[in-house]
């Protein structure tokens, strides 16, 4: 080994050539990263551009022609929103997703609090059973639940939101179903988060005279906003993007969410891309807004759910 030059003339030119070599050796990194990002973005961009193109243009030329030949129109969106009941479907998607999300947050955080901070026999076993339910394929639950709903249907008109009180043409039914399906992940995520809060805080609060409900509402929930936000985003997107549960448990076409409507579009207008692209983009708008606005929480939710277990 030779001594490393500490100072002096030779150092300067070496640095310069290093910088040049650095740029050269780093070029492949940039090419791969940018290349893959472009490859990953092209489909979404293609959809977005096409949804603004004239129906005849979509059917005869590729979306890339629109990059040089601007002829954008909003008519596709108008047609979709007017004629295909998409406005109602958009509302339905919200009416399904928001209450299901709130329900999961409440039920899961209560259970997670008990599992994380109350001592009782079989607490770990119970938690393991709940985590294990995470992998049950949803499909296999649908027939039994469907039968249950048919038996327990309550045929009473619901005011304002529409549908029946309970059963396969009710919002309540799908809220409960989504809550049930979302619970294993939600309990898992929240228990891990609650469990990581410092024990001293809870003990201090108990000594301060707080009941469980007080500790839950005054200490646990305010301190868990990041986890609750991540979970809320997750659950909301999951329900918003769901097709399967709606397909089976919502018999009433008036209550159908966006995903169901688009699927119907696909089967009846297989290659009318002017409608499909616009409809797909409407359904993507809400997730994309949430994604860009709350990306941090979204990523946190994924990590909390994945890295820890």
């Amino acid at each position: 080994m030779t001594a490393v030059p500490v100072s002096g003339a030779p150092a300067a030119p070496r640095e310069e050539s290093n910088a040049a070599r650095r740029l050269l050796t780093r070029a492949p990194i940039h090419i791969i990263v940018i290349g893959l990002v472009v490859l990953w973005s092209v489909p979404t961009i293609a959809l977005l551009i096409s949804s603004f193109r004239d129906p005849t243009a979509i059917a005869s030329s590729g979306w890339w022609n629109a990059l040089t030949d601007w002829d954008f129109t909003l008519s596709n969106y108008e047609r979709v929103l007017d004629q295909r009941g998409m406005g109602r479907a958009f509302m339905n998607s919200l009416l399904i997703a928001v209450p299901s999300t709130l329900l999961v947050l409440l039920v899961a955080s209560m259970a997670a609090y008990a599992i994380a901070w109350m001592d009782f026999k079989g607490r770990n076993a119970l938690f393991l059973v709940m985590v294990a339910l995470l992998v049950v394929p949803l499909q296999m639950t649908l027939i039994p639940v469907l039968r249950l709903y048919n038996e327990l249907a309550i045929d009473v008109e619901m005011p304002i939101i529409g549908g029946r009180l309970f059963g396969t043409s009710s919002f309540a039914g799908i809220w409960l179903a989504h809550a049930g399906y979302g619970l294993p992940f939600a309990i898992y995520l929240l228990r891990n988060f609650f469990g990581s809060l410092p024990r001293d805080l809870f003990e201090s609060a108990y000594l301060d005279g707080a009941s469980d409900a007080k500790v839950f509402f005054r200490i646990v929930l305010p301190l868990s906003t990041p986890a609750l936000a991540a979970l809320a985003i997750f659950q909301f997107l999951w329900v918003w993007n769901d097709l399967l549960v709606a397909l089976i448990l919502l018999g009433d076409p008036d209550l159908a969410p966006m995903t169901l409507n688009i699927t119907n579009l696909v089967s009846s207008f297989g290659s009318q891309y002017q409608l499909l692209t616009a409809a797909a983009f409407i359904s993507m708008a809400v997730p994309l807004v949430i994604f860009f606005a709350l990306q941090r929480y979204f990523v946190q939710g994924i990590l909390a759910g994945a890295v820890k277990g």
């Binding site: 201090s204 108990y206 000594l207």
Partner: protein, 384 residues
């Protein structure tokens, strides 16, 4: 305000006993320090008293009330945690007010008490801040303030100084003592640091392996440790120990150690059970090994030749690591002492200040002075 009584309290876990048959009484207004190495059961003891840990057997009383099955919030106690456990989402004022608010204390009364506590601790300017905007020392004060406003019957403190830097710790020690004098409440304080115990406590309880070793005033523990563990734990640097044999020389007793002999004064030597040729462990504190030149007047000492291995000058004093015929010995001497590693010097052992322990059990062989009776029956001594 209240006294606290532990009656045969045991806390058993599946694989170990954290606290074993603990009995002690803490008088009203006392500043009791529970001290011991980590895992000795001191925190478990405190947490059982707080109601955060259940009691396997025995009884705990606060005042006249058995609290075994009383929920933590109904025990009228306040606790300062090692981590301070401040609620991060609440301001300092809300942190202090939380306990009172939950107890439905009227708003103006809460405000009065929070302001009063803040004034005592000098944290009025911080009341609007969140915990994360506070320094370690400030957080510690807020934690104290949160306990003070509650005006509890008993004040529990779990290593409240361990997260402070050395300088702040010394300062806060004195302030805690003053606070205790001002409030007059019973304080029960857990620490692993014997210096904190010695400086603040009215009485100290030394625990080891879940068993109470000795309960007494700081002076009693320093001067009359009941066993080798307490002797070694209290005092810094630690007491020197070496094995020796007692020999009776007419009326007098002598200690025969490898390579040297110490006379044993009649008043030091315990009468009971100490016969000729008894094997003992001898303990002597480093501060009772002198440089003969600076030996305090009115002390009786035996001069011994020793080899210097290492010296540590602290400024106000000097630690000299010595080798006396193969027995390692630490001396805490006057800083003017001239000693260099490798040199042979003469040291003076204060033979009036030696402690004798049963070699097998570690129990002290000294007679117990009045008022420092053993807390449990002393084990049978081994006589030879």
């Amino acid at each position: 305000m209240a006294s606290v009584t532990f009656e045969n309290v045991t806390r058993q876990y599946p694989d170990n006993i954290a606290v074993n048959n603990l009995s002690m009484e803490v008088a009203d207004g006392e500043f009791l320090v529970l001290v011991g190495p980590s895992g000795c059961g001191k925190s478990t003891t405190l947490r059982m008293l707080a109601g955060l840990e259940s009691i396997s057997s025995g009884r705990i009383l606060i005042g006249d009330r058995v609290v075994n099955n009383v929920a933590a919030r109904d025990r009228d106690i306040a606790m300062v945690f090692q981590s301070y456990a401040l609620y991060p989402h609440m301001s300092v004022r809300d942190n202090m007010a939380f306990g009172l608010e939950l107890r439905k204390v009227p708003k103006d009364e809460i405000k009065r008490r929070v302001d009063e506590a803040a004034a005592i601790l000098g944290i009025e300017p911080l009341l609007g801040r969140k915990p994360r905007a506070l320094s370690g020392g400030q957080r510690q004060r807020v934690a104290l303030g949160r306990a003070i406003v509650r005006d509890p019957a008993v004040f529990l403190l779990d290593e409240p100084l361990s997260n402070l830097d050395a300088k702040l710790r010394v300062q806060t020690r004195a302030e805690l003592t003053k606070l205790h004098q001002r409030l007059g409440t019973t304080f029960i304080y857990v620490t692993h640091d014997q210096v904190e115990a010695m400086t603040m406590a009215t009485r100290i309880a030394v625990l080891d392996k879940g068993v109470l070793q000795q309960l007494g005033t700081p002076r009693e523990l320093y001067e009359h440790p009941r066993n080798r563990f307490v002797a070694g734990f209290i005092g810094s640097p630690s007491m020197n120990f070496f094995d020796a044999r007692v020999e009776r020389d007419g009326a007098a007793l002598r200690l025969i150690a490898p390579g040297f002999t110490l006379p044993l004064a009649a008043e030091t030597a315990p009468a009971a059970g100490l016969g000729d040729r008894t094997e003992v462990t001898v303990g002597i504190r480093p501060e009772h090994v002198y440089d003969p030149r600076f030996r305090p007047a009115e002390t009786r000492a035996t001069d011994l030749p020793a080899t210097v291995e290492l010296t540590e000058l602290m400024g106000n004093e000097m630690f000299v690591h010595l080798d006396v015929h193969g027995t390692p010995l630490l001396a805490r001497v006057d800083p003017r002492t001239a000693a260099r590693p490798g040199e042979s010097i003469s040291v003076a052992l204060d033979h009036d200040r030696v402690h004798l322990f049963d070699k097998a059990t570690g129990e002290s062989l000294a007679k117990y002075p009045e008022g420092s009776a053993p807390v449990s029956e002393p084990k049978a001594r081994v006589a030879t």
